[in-house]
């Protein structure tokens, strides 16, 4: 359920009140920035996606309808913006083979001590397709069927990308552990 203040903020933003829009941004932007960082390779890309996501959130605010959690709605919208951004870039990425770059080693850390930043680094270093599928399945909780529809790929392709993403992440963790020991 929305708190009274949250509802007022949304209604204010719907009326075009600058202050309400800003407060809404301040409340949800840290959470959405974290989402963007997971889907993007660099901080600059994440900032661009966050900007586009908020423009879209304010544009579609009237479609929200106060049904369910606003955070969940905004998060889904942000994920969609991130996916669209990468779908636009897909051709260039495939053509230039940027996904085939060698894996970078991170700071030596034992598995038990992996912190947010290490986990984020590992996710960000995943090739784009793996990263999107892993985020959608493992963290957002979408099914392969839903992922296939969202990304315009086969369900089997989603499964395969997830397995490959997991392998890369396991290897990353092993490398870090080995160095740490």
């Amino acid at each position: 359920m929305l708190s009274m203040k949250e509802k007022e903020l949304i209604e204010g933003a719907l009326r075009g009140e600058e202050r309400a829009s800003r407060l809404l941004f301040e409340r949800y932007s840290p959470m959405l920035m974290a989402v963007c960082q997971r889907y993007c390779r660099t901080q600059a890309e994440a900032e661009d996606v966050l900007q586009d996501a908020f423009i879209r959130i304010f544009k579609k605010l009237d479609k929200y309808g106060f049904q369910g959690s606003f955070a969940g709605w905004a998060r889904r919208l942000t994920v969609n913006v991130a996916l669209k951004t990468y779908q636009r870039k897909r051709y260039a990425l495939e053509q230039t083979g940027i996904d085939n770059l060698p894996e970078r080693g991170g700071a030596p850390t034992a598995y038990a001590d992996l912190g947010e930043q290490e986990l984020l680094d590992m996710v960000q270093q995943l090739p784009t397709g793996y990263r999107l599928v892993f985020n959608l399945y493992a963290i957002e909780g979408y099914s392969h069927k839903e992922i296939g529809e969202m990304m315009g790929i086969q369900e089997a392709s989603s499964r395969s990308q997830l397995l490959k993403a997991r392998k890369v992440l396991q290897r990353q963790i092993e490398i870090r552990q080995r160095i740490a020991i």
């Binding site: 840290p30 920035m33 960082q37 423009i55 870039k89 986990l119 963790i173 552990q177």
Partner: protein, 470 residues
């Protein structure tokens, strides 16, 4: 050298690290040994727990960026609209050209008659009274006009070369209506030679004297006939009024707008290859390394462009051209990448795609079949997009030109100069082959103002194409 070795050996050889701050080292080693790397769902859970509800710091200027972006006019939409309008105009021109055969033409309730045979040889124009040939009138001695109206050339003598001869003796006074006509005959005192017919009452047959046969009335005009008609109308006015002449050349009800406005309109479709010269200039001294790196790794590659434009001829020598050009500038990016200890040479292509509207003024040196036109004018950029990568000293991997290249979405106005050599082929349905070397310069940078490197281009190329007259 051995002294140096000794110095370090003595100083560090027997050194023991301070482990006072790493009390948990043994525990960590054990934990790592004992805890296998998670797999499957367990791995997912590790990441979900670590990242699922995470919050991240938002850059301080983000709200200002969003406000600015929300307030910005959607320039791309305007440009897309402008491009669509231009495209529509050009397509309309083409449509009129090729579909024009089916278009009826006249104002004031007239339309024209098809005359597919009027390309060769002199053609006479007859008025007829429905099925009755006008020659009856001549035979009956009612034809009064005898002055020759001379030889009328088609509007496009360099393309068609058709000569239409009107024999004024065949322009006859129409038989008077006996009644029931809404317009009725003209008063004889006002115009003793011709009378205006009700729409549809007097189809004109165009007679090909060379062939000795009448062309069936009631058909619609081909564009060429329309042009010829327009010329005939103009010439007729020298000796008779337009109203008098009109029934003789335009006979069946329809919607004829002035053909003279379209007389000089042509459509051109060109395809060409181009060479693009990239010029990188530093805006900030710290960008010197970036400039050197990019100049050493990026090389020009053949680009191309497709142009669809309309050309309007004001006079035999002066013409105006406008349309749409899709142009692509291409550069090759070469770089080395070390994979598993071995160096791999990688090569990719960068693309700069532009939609442009050239507006060119041309001066033609005319010839019978071959002519040359010198063109020049502004090149309005409607939209620019970029795809590819570039090397930067700050990054170990190539960066994306679209996100990190600081490219502008619109590069404003450029200039284009070209030399069109046109060669006319065919007589009955002539078209013109075009060969056009061109040069395009973009005085404004392709990159944004604050970018460390200013990237500019000039383009030279050769286009081949066809021109078709309306």
């Amino acid at each position: 050298m051995s002294q140096l070795d000794d110095l370090f050996r003595d100083g560090l050889g027997a050194r023991k690290a301070d482990l006072s701050n790493t009390n948990d080292l043994w525990a960590r080693i054990n934990a790592a040994k004992n805890a296998p790397v998670p797999t499957g769902e367990a791995l997912d859970k590790t990441f979900r727990d670590g990242l699922g509800d995470r919050e991240a710091a938002v850059p301080s200027g983000m709200w200002a960026r969003i406000v600015a972006a929300r307030g910005r006019r959607p320039l791309a939409k305007w440009l897309a609209g402008a491009a669509a309008v231009l495209l529509l105009l050009v397509a309309g021109g083409i449509g009129y050209n090729w579909l024009g055969d089916e278009l009826p033409v006249t104002d004031n309730g007239y339309r024209n008659v098809n005359n597919p045979a009027n390309d060769d040889g002199p053609t006479a124009l007859h008025g007829t009274d429905n099925a009755r040939p006008v020659s009856d009138d001549v035979q009956n001695g009612r034809a009064e006009t005898s002055a020759s109206l001379g030889t009328l050339r088609g509007s496009d003598n360099d393309d068609t070369g058709n000569n239409l001869t009107t024999d004024a003796s065949t322009l006859t006074k129409s038989p008077a209506k006996t009644g029931g006509s809404t317009e009725g005959p003209r008063p004889a005192a006002k115009n003793p030679r011709y009378e205006r017919r009700p729409a549809g009452a007097l189809p004109v047959t165009v007679k090909n004297q060379a062939a000795g046969e009448d062309i069936e009335a009631g058909k619609v005009l081909t564009p060429r006939t329309v042009l010829a008609m327009g010329q005939i109308g103009g010439k007729l006015m020298e000796s008779v009024s337009f109203e008098e002449a009109l029934p003789a050349v335009a006979v069946v009800p329809g919607k004829f707008k002035s053909t003279t406005a379209l007389r000089g309109l042509q459509t051109e479709l060109l395809f060409g290859v181009s060479y693009s010269r990239q010029e990188l200039a530093i805006q900030d001294p710290s960008a010197t390394e970036l400039q050197v790196l990019r100049e050493a790794s990026e090389f020009p590659k053949a680009g191309y462009q497709i142009t669809l434009r309309s050309s309007y001829r004001f006079t035999d020598r002066l013409r105006l051209m406008a349309g749409l050009t899709y142009a692509e500038i291409r550069n090759e990016l070469d770089y080395d990448r070390i994979v598993n200890g071995s160096t791999i040479r990688l090569s990719t292509t960068n693309h700069i795609r532009m939609l442009e509207a050239p507006v060119l003024l041309g001066y033609t040196i005319p010839g019978r079949r071959l002519n040359v036109t010198v063109n020049g004018g502004p090149l309005l950029n409607l939209t620019t997009g970029v795809r590819g990568r570039f090397l930067a000293p700050s990054s170990s991997i190539p960066l994306d030109l679209q996100t990190d290249g600081n490219f502008r979405g619109n590069i404003g106005v450029g200039f284009m100069a070209s030399l069109t050599t046109a060669y006319q082929i065919g007589k009955k349905r002539p078209f013109t082959l075009l060969l056009e070397p061109f040069f395009k310069a973009y005085p404004t940078a392709f990159t944004e103002k604050g970018a460390p490197l200013r990237e500019k281009y000039w383009v030279a190329g050769l286009q081949l194409g066809v021109r078709k007259r309306l």
